[in-house]
């Protein structure tokens, strides 16, 4: 009767029932063995990530939790609709702010917040990427607070990572608990995620520049082996069957991008770049960057190569812009946003700043352009000294911060040293946009805060991952509440 406590309570959602059966019938030793098998598997295939500023841990494993996170198909359908709407709005917003700026003229969003935003790229003003797609790959971070209540925490519209975990976590689960997955298959099925690479490949091919005739040549640009997400870059290049290139493998000649191969220069039509704007072209952005390609921006403007994602998309995932997303979605799609925004205090506004300072210990404060959970204050878990020093930072540079209430995040059963226990989770689905619209693989990266009560799920801050199962509702029909 393993894990009865965690699954016997009213808070357990129905789709967990079948997995609950499995967990209850498995001993703690068996679960621990499974967990160790999973870790060994990850170690052998070399899935690691680097933690910046930690010399002893240049290659570390992200903890993997073998209890899957389950989402019912009907719930996913609503989520999917909301994601399509949101990512469409993001693309229209970008086309607008680098083009006619209608949303600014209409007073939807303050002009200076866009035009003076450090992520707003002057190089892109008046430019249109191929097929007018700006964000080809988006990672939308969501949290769930109740039935059908998903909040967007962040939009990642630059170079979102984590999709390799979505794919590899499923591989591990298929090896560890094939009998459970087969059982679910008989009752309606678990949606596959392994179509992601193929969908991504189609997406990238669909945005090849008009000047490309014939089969487009694709490449994935990585900052190199020392990048924290290098494993993912090589993993994806492998799954896509495209070259994994570094800046030094590429050069621009006559506004055309080439890679250096053993057979001589080969033209590249679409570059899936996992390198930030700042480093991508020393002639336009940081001149000291050795990671990018001189002349690349000109090549994109000449319409000879498509960058995915386009340059300048950071302005759409800025945390200050985020607070305007409900208005942005309504303005561009003509409908209310299906996914909710977390209520956000813009510290740049004096009234909001005063309120934030007043109840700092209840809020989560984030840097507007921060990522990875760095530079963040979780008020309810902070000490007096931390609160005071953060308040000083806020007063000095209020425009750099936003604040949000802590949400009553949903939890998911997670294997801990003391057995199964609830832990907070979030979800990052990956949304692909090509010439023929938006596509989403049913699943995503579920991150879990492994420390009890913690809300921080970032891998660099001690978070772990889980496999994410979108199961058809049929499994709910076979659910027997008395079995719990």
């Amino acid at each position: 009767m393993y894990g009865h406590g965690a699954f016997g309570s009213d808070s357990v959602r129905m789709p967990y029932a079948r997995v609950g059966d499995w967990l209850r019938s498995s001993s703690h030793e068996l679960m621990e063995t499974r967990r160790q098998q999973a870790e060994l598997f990850f170690r052998r295939i070399g899935i690691t990530f680097a933690v910046y500023g930690d010399p002893d841990a240049s290659e570390r494993l992200i903890p993997f939790d073998i209890v899957p996170r389950i989402i019912a198909g009907s719930e996913w359908a609503k989520l999917e609709e909301g994601l399509v709407q949101r990512v469409n709005a993001l693309n229209m917003f970008l086309a607008d702010v680098y083009g006619p700026r209608e949303c600014i003229k209409a007073g939807i969003i303050p002009e200076e917040l866009v035009l003076r935003n450090p992520q707003y790229s002057l190089a892109q003003v008046g430019r249109r990427p191929a097929k007018d797609v700006w964000v080809h790959i988006a990672g939308i971070d969501l949290v769930r607070t109740g039935a059908d209540a998903f909040y967007v925490l962040e939009d990642n519209a630059r170079t979102p990572s984590g999709v390799s975990y979505m794919l590899e976590n499923r591989e591990v689960m298929l090896r560890l608990v094939p009998e459970v997955i087969a059982d679910i298959g008989m009752h309606g099925g678990l949606r596959p995620v392994e179509t992601y690479p193929e969908t991504l490949l189609d997406t990238l091919k669909s945005v090849a520049p008009d000047s490309c005739t014939g089969e487009p040549c694709l490449a994935l640009l990585t900052p190199g082996v020392h990048n924290s997400a290098y494993y993912e870059h090589s993993f994806l290049a492998d799954k896509l069957g495209i070259e994994l290139v570094e800046g030094s493998d590429l050069f621009v000649h006559a506004d055309t991008l080439f890679m250096r191969t053993t057979e001589g220069p080969k033209r590249v039509d679409v570059l899936y770049r996992r390198l930030d704007d700042d480093f991508i072209d020393p002639l336009v952005f940081r001149p000291d960057s050795m990671l990018g390609v001189p002349g690349l921006v000109n090549a994109t403007h000449a319409g000879n190569v498509t960058l995915a994602n386009a340059i300048g998309t950071g302005v759409a995932d800025d945390k200050a812009i985020y607070s305007y997303m409900p208005e942005i979605v309504r303005f561009f799609t003509g409908r209310d946003a299906l996914l909710q925004n977390v209520p956000t205090f813009r510290c740049r506004e004096p009234d909001a700043l005063a309120q934030v300072l007043d109840k700092l210990s209840e809020l989560v404060v984030k840097e507007v352009d921060g990522s990875g959970g760095y530079g963040m204050l979780v008020g309810p878990h902070a000490t007096k000294a931390q609160l005071d020093s953060f308040a000083a930072k806020l007063r000095a540079h209020p425009e750099k911060f936003i604040a949000q209430p802590t949400l009553a995040l949903s939890t998911c059963p997670t294997l801990t040293d003391a057995g199964l226990a609830p832990r907070h989770v979030d979800l990052r689905p990956f949304v692909l946009t090509g010439a023929d619209g938006v596509k989403i693989v049913a699943g995503g990266l579920t991150r879990v805060a492994l420390k009890q009560g913690s809300l921080v799920v970032n891998s660099s801050q001690g978070g772990g991952t889980k496999d994410t199962w979108v199961v058809d509702d049929a499994i709910l029909d076979s659910f027997d509440p008395d079995a719990l």
Partner: protein, 313 residues
């Protein structure tokens, strides 16, 4: 394929081969050094190992005594000696990681495994039994790498660049090993057998895992000129210079076929193979073994450069 990937694969092949050679060198030297002092003793044995590994200068700079513990440590584990087994395996893995997509899971696991294995031995001075265990276990993981690569890699440029690195490095180490011992290989007029040098020759053969092969090929007592013949002119002996060049020519031809033309590297390798084929051990002794080996090592380096040029490394 990307030129950088080709370079990574080529160097991964070279580093792994060098690590393998160092392990065999340590193994053979431990045996030689264990003979009674009247047979040469430990110090000359380890001095020979330092010369064979071509690290005389860098070892002298450490100021360490020439004995098993210190030379063994320097050759196997010293993290600041770029030619140590440890550093070779680290470099090989680093190269492999940079071309992870070009390797099969099995090949990657083997090169990753070699690096994990050497780390188990730490970086301190090993005792005798640790050194022997190290050599055995690294030889085994490198064999598993060869097996994984041979069984699972597609026969395409990826594999050929990897093997080309192995081949060029193998020719280099075999030639250097012979050159260090060349004075022992010269034909003598005095009767052989029971000579002190006998142990030197067998050590040399052991270093390239060829002692048994020698007996099968010549069915004779170990004679120095036959040792040279085996390691230079015997096509069946996988580490002989001529076998390495047969491999190199074949690999370069495969690469040429994929791009539709031969280049300077193809021509250099073919010319070197032809010269080896037209030579034999008697002619070679007349011309001078040392001179031949010096020239061979220089030509082999030039071939390495030509490969880098031809494929835009």
């Amino acid at each position: 394929m990307l030129s950088r990937s080709a370079a990574n694969l080529y160097w991964m092949g070279r580093y792994l081969e060098r690590a393998d050679f160092l392990c065999r060198l340590i193994d053979a030297t431990v045996r030689l050094a264990s003979l009674p002092a009247s047979h040469g003793g430990a110090k000359p044995a380890w001095e020979g190992a330092i010369r064979s590994a071509a690290v005389e200068n860098s070892f002298r700079e450490t100021g360490l005594p020439v004995d098993e513990a210190h030379v063994g440590w320097f050759l196997a584990l010293d993290p600041s000696n770029p030619s140590s087994v440890r550093c070779c395996l680290e470099a090989a893995r680093h190269n492999g990681r940079a071309v992870r997509t070009a390797l099969t899971l099995e090949t990657w696991e083997a090169v990753n495994g070699a690096w994990l294995e050497i780390q188990r031995f730490g970086t301190g001075v090993p005792d005798s039994s640790t050194l022997v265990r190290l050599v055995e276990s690294i030889k085994a993981v490198l064999l598993s790498f060869d097996g994984a690569a041979a069984r699972t890699q597609l026969r395409e440029p990826t594999y050929w660049f990897l093997r080309l690195g192995t081949t060029i490095e193998r020719a280099d180490t075999t030639a250097r090993l012979l050159d260090v011992k060349y004075h022992l290989l010269l034909p003598r007029t005095e009767p052989i057998g029971g000579s002190l040098d006998y142990f030197q020759w067998t050590t040399l053969l052991r270093t390239v895992s060829a002692l048994t092969a020698y007996r099968w090929v010549y069915r004779d007592a170990v004679k120095p000129w036959l040792v040279a013949d085996l390691l230079i002119f015997n096509r069946a002996m996988p580490r002989s210079l001529i076998a390495c060049y047969e491999d190199a020519v074949w690999l370069l031809d495969q690469l040429a076929a994929t791009r539709g033309r031969r280049g300077p590297a193809n021509r250099q390798a073919s010319a070197a193979l032809r010269r080896l084929s037209e030579n034999d051990i008697d002619a070679l002794f007349q011309g001078g073994l040392h001179e031949f080996l010096t020239e061979f090592i220089a030509e082999n380096n030039a071939l390495g450069d030509a490969i880098a040029d031809q494929y835009l490394f």
